[in-house]
């Protein structure tokens, strides 16, 4: 099979921008709202999610010729649940603070539509290497997306940015950005999570609309120019024929 140049790079990057699982496909919204109170928790969630996605994509891709059509979904679910359980145990053993912070949402990676979706839509049809790249891109895209949400929620909600509470191997530090007493604690609440998500989606929609408008404007101008050219050509040819 011959492939275009730069396919791998595009395959990797599509998960981050063009097909971002959270902001474009609106998948995996539960952890995106529930684990974004602090940036640290979001980073932890993103890492665990990426590990599960990469591992299950590789295995599904390896087994794509063995697993037959009718048992696909149950087989994939078992594979994903296995990796989630393994990741959960390792988190409990080596990052206990992260385990306590995320709680039941580590188990809920099993039912994250992105993991099953990528397994069904991509890994079950493509080679191991392509699936790995796709999973890495999607995982990174999702991680960056939830970190974006967490940055707004943590800074607006607590007025400060702190690190080192969950990843205890990093020395604890706290950076007060908004003076104490002026923070908007609404953003730490569920309502704030919805608002931040809504605003980010609105900004993305705004940028897209702007781009579409610019494009259609350009097209219009192009059309008018062509029409004028055609007119001129017709006129000049008409003039010659006279």
């Amino acid at each position: 099979m011959k492939r275009e140049k730069g396919f791998t790079k595009r395959n990797f990057l599509k998960g981050i921008l063009a097909e971002n699982p959270l902001f474009v496909s609106i998948l995996g919204t539960c952890p995106a709202l529930a684990t974004t109170k602090t940036v640290e928790a979001a980073i932890g969630m993103g890492i665990l999610f990426t590990i599960v996605l990469v591992c299950s994509s590789i295995l599904v891709s390896l087994l794509r010729k063995i697993i037959s059509e009718e048992i696909r979904t149950p087989a994939y679910i078992v594979i994903i649940a296995t990796f989630v359980t393994i990741v959960k145990m390792f988190t409990n053993a080596f990052l206990p603070e992260l385990y306590l912070t995320l709680g039941v949402f580590i188990s809920l990676i099993v039912v994250n539509c992105i993991v099953l979706g990528r397994a069904e839509a991509y890994a079950s049809k493509n080679t191991v290497f392509d699936s790995l790249i796709d999973a890495l891109g999607m995982g990174l895209g999702y991680t960056l997306a939830i970190i974006t949400m967490a940055v707004f929620r943590e800074i607006l909600g607590t007025g400060a940015f702190s690190f080192g509470k969950i990843f205890t191997f990093i020395p604890y530090f706290k950076l007060q950005i908004i003076p104490k007493g002026y923070e908007i604690s609404l953003f730490q609440n569920p309502a704030g999570a919805f608002i931040v998500f809504a605003l980010i989606l609105a900004v993305i929609a705004f940028i897209k609309n702007r781009k579409a408008e610019l494009k259609s404007n350009l097209e219009k101008q192009e059309k008018i120019r062509k029409q004028q050219e055609a007119k001129m050509a017709a006129e000049s040819s008409g003039g010659e024929s006279k």
Binding site: T29, L33, A34, I77, A81, V111, P190, A202, A205, F206
Partner: protein, 199 residues
């Protein structure tokens, strides 16, 4: 006896309203946003979720006790998700056979329930918190009815939003999320609803 009953009812109401699945625990956001454009479909989805959550809790609670006896309690997530997936399949087949009309209305949402975190979330947190069987059922009932109420209310508002004059960038999902935020604020007001009742 009376006390048990009161506790049971209060537990249902509290997990239904005060600690609502969608608006305060963030389970099941995907169907909440995805299947709420029409009132009818959201009602179907909500009812299907109530049914599956109840059945899954009834099966998974004893199953966890068995796993514990066998000393493999760490297999819980795998077992639960298998139970839920096969339950969803079975319920689909059952409804298809006995009530084709209901299947027609409900059928398309059934596969979506497997990946609804509300189902696995409730089952998993019931056993993680070592709730008793009665408490688990109360939690499941309250949670699933809470989901039903919120998704139906949300879809009623969303139908109105279609014709509302919203800024272009907010059209569709962003304004719906703002609505969800306001609903979450309203539900936050129910906190401490039963603080007067002495248990």
């Amino acid at each position: 006896m009376m006390k048990i009953l009161v506790t049971f009812v209060l537990a249902i109401i509290s997990s239904m309203l005060i600690d609502n699945v969608v608006l305060s625990r963030f389970y099941g956001i995907c169907p909440f946003l995805g299947v709420s454009k029409k009132v009818k479909s959201s009602l179907g989805m909500g009812l299907a979720v109530v049914f599956v959550i109840m059945l899954a809790t009834l099966i998974c609670w004893p199953l966890y006790q068995l796993l514990q006896l066998a000393g493999i309690a760490f297999m819980d997530t795998v077992a639960y998700i298998l139970v839920i997936a096969s339950l969803v399949q079975l319920v689909g087949l059952f409804i298809k056979k006995y009530s084709p009309t209901l299947y027609k209305n409900l059928g398309i949402y059934l596969p979506l329930i497997t990946t609804n975190c509300a189902v696995l979330g409730v089952v998993q947190s019931n056993t993680d918190q070592a709730l008793t069987f009665l408490d688990s059922i109360a939690n499941a009932l309250g949670t699933s009815i809470g989901f039903l109420i919120v998704i139906v209310l949300f879809s009623c508002i969303r139908v109105r939003l279609e014709s509302a004059n919203t800024p272009k960038a907010f059209k569709g999902l962003p304004i719906a999320l703002i609505v969800a935020a306001i609903m979450a604020l309203a539900f936050m007001g129910l906190q401490g609803l039963f603080s007067g009742i002495n248990l």
